[in-house]
Symmetry: C2
Subunit: 332 residues, 2 copies
């Protein structure tokens, strides 16, 4: 397997990106192709003992920054690490592309300039994957489409269901619509219109509406929503998690006894942190394009990058893209 890593992706590129590639190359036998500024990548690689590891560098002269406007950068930087990397996948020279870069730009480069949309897929979906108490949950759409049509949600269900089954290893994924109440009848117009279509779809096991609480409890494996709502929910989870961590740190530091308690309880806090750490997953797929694309958080550290590469491996091994092409491409 050959996995392309955008070495110029994360906020602190190429440091965590290269470090994560080294970790991945040590853990699995896959070939990792680092794409980006050759000089910078090789300087960074020089810090590690990489003899025997299947690490290669492909030069890309341009870099899309986090601050770049996605569509504009995708248009004006045709030799960015994202373009070069996804062209390798498109041309069959690699099996998957992993990046912690500008999400909007990944979407634009994939959709408009390189991999293109799978024929039959109306809209691509950004996703988020996280751990729940009994396994994994995948949410789609996480922000590619702020406004959605009901039939797009059904396709997101098909694609995310395939990823859940083939890459996350969930044998019979339950697919639900995110709503403001579990009862049928709750929801906005989009949920109401999508409900009968979800029920009719024979390509997944639709289990009805779920509220955010049920999502976190793992009462479904796949959660479907428009990109605006999904993005708000995801950002709310992240913001609430940070706020609570900060409040707990402040209040524990506020007195000597609580500070001592905090020290003793530190291993427990670390375990909680690990349970909700998005870097344990590392990245989530962009679904609906002709190739495996895994997008990680800009703040990714090397562990997150390595785990994003793991997601890419699993998607390749599970033939996720081919299955989406077969499931939706046939005009299903």
């Amino acid at each position: 397997m050959r996995i392309v890593l955008d070495a110029m992706g994360s906020d602190h590129y190429p440091v965590p990106d290269v470090a994560g590639a080294v970790l991945a190359a040590r853990e699995w036998a896959d070939e990792i192709i680092l794409v980006g500024d050759r000089g910078k990548i090789e300087a960074e690689l020089g810090k590690y003992p990489v003899q025997g590891l299947r690490l290669h560098v492909v030069h890309a002269p341009q870099i899309i920054e986090m601050t770049d406007k996605p569509a504009e950068a995708a248009e004006k930087k045709p030799d960015s690490s994202m373009h070069v990397g996804m062209r390798l996948v498109r041309d069959g020279e690699a099996d998957a592309f992993v990046t912690a870069g500008n999400t909007g730009a990944v979407l634009a480069v994939a959709m408009l300039h390189t991999l293109k949309r799978i024929r039959g897929v109306k809209r691509p979906a950004l996703t988020a994957v996280f751990r729940n108490p009994s396994g994994y949950t995948i949410m789609a759409d996480f922000g590619a489409n702020a406004d959605c049509r009901p039939e797009w949600l059904v396709q997101f269900g098909v694609m995310a269901h395939l990823y859940a089954r083939l890459a996350l290893g969930i044998s019979e994924p339950r697919v639900a619509l995110l709503s403001n109440g579990e009862e049928e009848g709750k929801g906005n117009a989009l949920v109401h219109e999508a409900t009968p279509l979800m029920k009719q779809c024979r390509q997944f096991n639709y289990v009805g509406n779920v509220e955010p609480k049920e999502v976190l409890q793992g009462k479904t494996d796949v959660v479907i929503h428009d990109g605006f709502t999904g993005n708000i929910m995801g950002k709310t989870l992240e913001a609430m998690g940070s706020m609570m961590r900060q409040m707990i740190a402040e209040e524990i530091k506020a007195g000597p006894l609580t500070a001592m308690g905090g020290l003793l309880a530190r291993p427990a806090f670390k375990r909680v942190g690990k349970r909700i750490d998005p870097f344990e997953i590392g990245g989530a797929p962009l679904l609906g394009v002709n190739g495996v694309v895994i997008i990680g958080h800009g703040r990714s550290n090397e562990i997150a990058i390595k785990n994003a590469i793991r997601q890419a491996r699993q998607a390749v091994l599970g033939n996720v893209v081919e299955s989406i092409q077969a499931g939706l491409g046939a005009g299903a």
Copy 2:
């Protein structure tokens, strides 16, 4: 001041409701009118020394339960504690109505059967009020209108701004639209269409888009959104808070040292709990009807009920309803 409390509101009515009324009557000199099953209320009141407190009981023969379908119950139980209580406000025999009951039913009873919508207000708004690091935030709509038109959002802004200024004591409330990015241009179609209308409105200080993170950080005082998105965000905050509390408890109990640390740090956890406890606010207003209506959580304890009564007092003292009538009723 005369405040009506729905004694049959909370999940465990009338116990916390009556207890909260007693606390409120001790703290403030207001008259509290307990509405509901006279026998049950008086039995409960009998547990407290209430001599000298201005507590009165008004009988209502019917009860709307949490499990009742809102519109149906509002129609078929015309002498419920909600109907009787809100009629007292409508008829000028009381100044405000407080309940921890079925939110949908409160909305239906207020809008269709008793107080009615303020002339000029297109849609009422449910709200949520919570503490941020520097004060209070009010969110609207929290679920009365799953699908909204842009001009409704502007009215929610006017109403919530007046509540923030007159009842929460924020001198120049900042009003923002909830979106999936701070930059102008982010958002769904509703946000895009509402933005120019929010800018044009001279009745509040519009500060642009905010993401969930900025909401929690208190970078705005008033957050405006459709009822579906607001409800999802609110439920996500609640679900994430519970999940983290549960995880921390589990991991702390997992070993003797961390358990000891947890004991020592308990005062810090209590302070964190208090900072994010919705019962510290107790309830939030239903805006847009002809009367002060404060709705608390079904799980309210007596402290929450007392604090919901405080919200009602502040709304009455601030003339919130009259100001909304003046601000929107004049065809503004």
